[in-house]
Symmetry: C2
């Protein structure tokens, strides 16, 4: 294990109905909040009214800002920051999935800052203060409900950048599996893939003596794969939604990454694809992960062997070598993603131009000083192009 600091102060309210008394928790921090959400489905399904009633019970003033899109954009965040500044709002309640929560985090660090909040994401400045945020999670997968990071896109600049700071931990997150009952199949699956990838990005590591974490990781991958299939048949099953919701939180709260040199190649590549085409994050990952695996397993197969043994229960002794196990593991993931209705190649996602691959690879390389990405196997621009072509 590597040396490091671990903290995760977000308080979780898991289960039914916590959102109905949300004012009780918010009032500890603020009496003047921004309600931040997405398309407005929360107004149709009654959640919005239940929240309003509770805010009213505790005399909490609010201003609303809906309209967060997937791959949340800077323009709405600028608007949110402006609203908070002009109305002295000191708390953002994010009601939604990862996009809404990430957007809220960006607003939270932007409000006390005189410059452009995107400075933080571009690595020019570090925030010294933030207003508080709380979340009511309505889509599992992003893990944003209990991490300190966010990913924000700027359409004009064509960038999708991530940034994290302990100031951005939500002070609380409400996780009620019932609120995810109506998430459509394709977004449920995209969340499953995102969660699995949050584990794999940490699991694929060359750091030794991380068995405690690796064994936990394998257990959660197994759970996510099992219930990710089951939820396709029973989208309103509370218990299945619970398993997925909790597993998705653990997948990304860094319990599974602490003490390890992590990889994050697939996320880096996926972010640059999203910056170019604005596709759904989990969908991109579903095609990039197998392509990435196919590229790296021949260079470094020890984690593939562990996955084979501990996730897919392969009797690894009967195989000739680790590469053979690697091929089976890759096939298993590919089949699984297909079985939960995910796209199998980049073209399935929309209009992708192969001529863009060089630019995408270059932008990936630009995210690091060394010009290579990943750690399990370090990838050059050329390698990234190979992966993109394999995923096409």
């Amino acid at each position: 294990m590597l040396d490091g600091t671990f903290e995760n102060p977000t308080k979780i309210f898991f289960g039914k109905g916590f959102e109905n008394d949300i004012g009780k928790e918010i009032v500890k921090y603020s009496k003047n909040v921004l309600l931040h959400f997405g398309s407005g489905s929360i107004k149709k399904n009654g959640l919005y009214n239940r929240i309003l009633k509770s805010l009213n019970d505790y005399d909490i003033k609010f201003t609303e800002l809906g309209g967060v899109q997937s791959n949340p954009k800077t323009n709405l965040i600028y608007e949110g920051i402006q609203i908070c500044k002009s109305k002295n709002i000191d708390f953002v309640l994010a009601i939604g999935g990862g996009s809404v929560i990430d957007s809220a985090k960006a607003i939270a660090i932007g409000v006390p800052y005189d410059g452009d909040f995107y400075d933080f994401f571009e690595g020019k400045e570090n925030p010294q203060k933030a207003i508080k945020i709380g979340t009511i999670l309505t889509i599992s997968g992003s893990g944003s409900e209990s991490i300190s990071g966010a990913v924000i896109s700027d359409l004009e600049k064509g960038t999708k950048l991530s940034y994290g700071n302990p100031l951005m931990f939500p002070v609380f997150s409400v996780m009620n599996p019932e609120l995810t009952f109506t998430v459509p199949k394709h977004l449920t699956s995209a969340g499953i893939v995102d969660s699995i990838s949050h584990i794999l990005e940490r699991y694929f590591s060359n750091t030794l003596y991380t068995e405690c974490t690796d064994r936990m990781s394998e257990g959660i991958i197994r759970t996510l794969m099992k219930y990710g299939l089951k939820i396709m048949e029973c989208p309103m099953d509370y218990d299945i939604r619970s398993e997925i919701m909790w597993a998705s939180k653990i997948a990304h709260d860094n319990s599974l990454g602490f003490g390890k040199k992590q990889d994050w190649s697939c996320h880096t590549i996926s972010h640059e694809i999203a910056a170019k085409y604005d596709f759904i994050h989990g969908n991109i990952l579903a095609v990039i992960i197998p392509a990435w695996m196919k590229f790296v397993y021949q260079k470094n197969n020890f984690k593939f062997v562990e996955l084979g043994k501990n996730v897919f229960e392969l009797d690894i002794d009967i195989y000739e070598n680790g590469k053979e196990v690697g091929e089976i593991v890759i096939r298993k993931f590919k089949e699984y993603f297909k079985n939960i209705g995910m796209p199998t190649c980049l073209r399935d996602l929309g209009n992708v131009n192969k001529d863009d691959f060089c630019e995408i690879a270059k932008k990936c390389s630009n995210t690091t000083l060394s010009g290579t990405i990943g750690n399990y196997v370090r990838l050059t621009e050329e390698n990234i192009i190979t992966i993109l072509e394999a995923s096409y």
Copy 2:
């Protein structure tokens, strides 16, 4: 999964050398601290001087209170509270294992309280305030470094009582595996057993849909069992100590118990044995766990089957029934505890009088309103006596 609230705000510094700059972290909270520790071995091995140097670097005043014993006692805690009150001390730095940390937690809630701090443990009052505590862990196993609970014995009353409150979370814990290099074999093993039992007490549950947590639990049991054996041969191996230290933290920080109705029979029985005989906690558990298992597996074997499959890699299909698997699982645990040098029966621990079993069982029953303990299988006084006899 059951509804519930999860929080764990303790900040962890894991790895080498953090203790050398401990003043930097403490000064965020206090400039006047109580140094709380055990037998004074920290003075011999140089740790104490390194801490003092850092306190000096940040102009932090200190008063020392050593002498914490295993099964920490009320009398030293009264003394600690008195010192803090008279010197306006508002921070306790616990340097040691679970006993020292638990003692520090009790002092922390006792200082701002006008009455007897043991009121909290006896269920008469709840603390409204506490002074802060931080820890430098020198023995793995208790998990006290990142939980909000403590267990305190009162010799005169003959009680060993546990109490937990979010006010008692350490604000930080330094976990440097090097500091555990010199822990003697028998205490290292006692810590391993304690950690395994922290997982089992949560694992043995009838709550359904806890697979995410169960799979993680099995992974950590496997890791602890593996490295618990290895450390016997290589006590100064940093990597092995790391795995044990991190696994012991996860084992008890409630990551593995959230959303479940937990059991805790073995701890309840062990605490009452300790209250009577003052034996080492982990040693008692090593004989109580197999005796408890032997009693319950015939009544409810489903978790034994899961352990058999996922921890001991049994091909459970070849066994006639779950009971057969249960017997193997029990034998495996018994053998394992023996292999790491643990006692195999109560008599090994010291002078135990079988005539005391009725009294011990009665005191166990008195810890609950219903008069029965445990949840996986509920135990009457009579059942507890049966278990005690089996462990004798």
